[in-house]
Symmetry: C2
């Protein structure tokens, strides 16, 4: 048995996964389970671009030269300082006969796995890019493995909107799955979303309601409360500091009448673990989507509170998550408007 | 609605949970849902004792004086430098009429929640302790809240054995629960335990087998392989470095014929997330019990590998976990022998 995760593309060191590799083989010929993309645009990770721009004092030509150097040396756009990459947009060029990916030649797609593990070759010297921004017009090719994640860009939604939705598409899909796993329980399912006014939070709230749950969005400020209330995406909206366990659990209980069946953490600040645990009913589930989550704080917190709750590491991959998230946005004009106003504000 | 987690015992700062509090109220009078314990012995956390012993250059009387000072000032044994506590053994003195805890007056018990959140008062000046070790004979009282975790010490097992089992009792209980959640699936359930020769690992392997799973224990050395093979606790034993994703997943697939339904991580070193994810079948579950688990490495790793696996933060609390773990040990002489040989080696 082989693992279709690109091990054959790893040049050095041998035997590691593509993300951990120093150098990948970006040859254009594809294996039976691979897909080749004709690249149109790279979206550099914000932290990566900032590091490069700072290093070169805003000299765009120097930034461009270093990006070309990184891609040429490593066979992928993997910033060795920040460890981050980004994603890309392109058109499917060729699909191997054994590829399980749901794409065909000619599809315009976005890759939803990091550039840090995607074999990439540039053929135009990035001539169309001034090195001054994260959006990089580019010609060349990239390779997707058997196990990869790619989404077809929809024709009915602006690419910027689709990309913003793809960026957080794991949250609504996993929330939907977990809420439905409680279907048939004696009590109606309730869902609390900490950080309910944000991108992942508003999609999680919407998915929870579409799955039949009664919901409360917990937000940090009166301004966010007004935004979320006006959008009408939650049955209740409460203001509380997600880092204050007593405040957040009291707010959830006041809104729902009891702790939540499912609590979804979408607040990207440290220290939200105990409030989420305390806000969740016995037998319930906490889904942690925030990268600021502390594993020991969650594990030891639940133990110290004698809380019989299931705690999930929010896996950003759920089969069909990109299509699911687009569908949530299509069905819910208010969440679409929220996303569009964020994009317009940029 | 109130949360029975001891908020009424918090003196300062007001409104935080007992573990976060600087000072608790350790009065002996109990509330309706509280339990008072007559203390016999404190087991100081190893990191806390080491810090105190080092600070005082091995002067036992000074260590004793500082422990008394901490408990007197804070109303709990919460080392302000290490942030850690320990646990205690004692006899149940009084049970409030509304306590949900499964204990009665006269039971000899061990507390399974940290001393950092347990109201505690000492009445004998720790006269029976020389300040030279983590085991502290003590007289006084401690308070348990409505939501707390306490286990009755069994009469048929040595206290040292029971305490060693209690220390890791969440692992077998949660493993059992997850394995049984897959019962009725088309495929027989298989379980891989990374770190299968250790305390939590050997109990997880045993619980998985008792729940009907076919198991593989992954260990780091030939010596551990021989120990685990001789004990006969797993259907297969494989040697691999759990930090090497390709090695560990290949070893699991070689042993089981396919990736595992459930993978349990009991290896307390960083970097085991990707191997565990890759060793797990699509639709399977990874349970992370190691405190060295990196939340972002798990979340981003699964996404990068397009792995549809459920990832659980190993909650150390499962109702009935202490009794369950003792029962596993009683039913499995080989795992009992493994624990007893570890205790004897100390």
């Amino acid at each position: 048995m082989t693992f279709p995760v690109g091990l054959n593309r790893v040049l050095e060191p041998a035997g590691v996964l593509p993300q951990a590799a120093w150098r990948l083989d970006a040859r254009a010929e594809i294996g039976a389970d691979e897909v080749r993309i004709r690249v149109e645009r790279l979206n550099l990770d914000a932290a990566s671009f900032r590091q490069l721009a700072t290093k070169h004092g805003g000299d765009g030509a120097a930034v461009r030269a270093e990006v070309l150097e990184i891609i040429g040396t490593r066979g992928k756009m993997h910033n060795p300082v920040t460890g981050s990459g980004g994603m890309l947009i392109g058109v499917v060029d060729e699909v191997g006969p054994e590829s399980p990916l749901p794409v065909k030649a000619g599809d315009r797609v976005a890759t939803l796995v990091s550039l840090t593990l995607t074999p990439l070759a540039i053929s135009d010297g990035l001539a169309g890019w001034d090195g001054m921004g994260e959006q990089v017009p580019a010609a060349g090719h990239a390779i997707l493995f058997g196990r990869s994640v790619v989404a077809v860009l929809p024709e009915d939604l602006a690419p910027e909107l689709a990309l913003a939705v793809f960026d957080v598409c794991g949250a609504p899909a996993l929330t939907d799955r977990i809420v439905r796993s409680y279907a048939g329980a004696a009590q109606p399912v309730t869902v609390a979303v900490l950080g309910g006014a944000g991108k992942s939070g508003s999609l999680a709230l919407t998915a929870a309601r579409l799955a039949g749950a009664r919901t409360v969005g917990v937000v940090v400020s009166d301004a966010e409360r007004e935004t979320l209330t006006a959008a009408g995406l939650a049955d209740h909206v409460a203001v509380a500091d997600a880092r204050d366990p007593v405040a957040v659990s009291s707010a959830v209980v006041a809104a729902l009448g009891a702790p939540a069946t499912v609590t979804v953490v979408c607040v990207d600040v440290p220290g939200c673990e105990h409030g989420a645990i305390l806000a969740t009913a016995s037998g319930g589930t906490v889904i942690f989507f925030s990268m600021a989550t502390s594993f020991p704080a969650a594990a030891l917190g639940a133990e110290g509170l004698a809380a019989d709750v299931t705690m999930l590491v929010g896996n950003g991959y759920v089969p069909g998550h990109a299509e699911f998230a687009l569908d949530v946005v299509r069905r819910t004009p208010a969440v679409r408007a929220l996303f569009e106003s964020r994009i317009a504000a940029h």
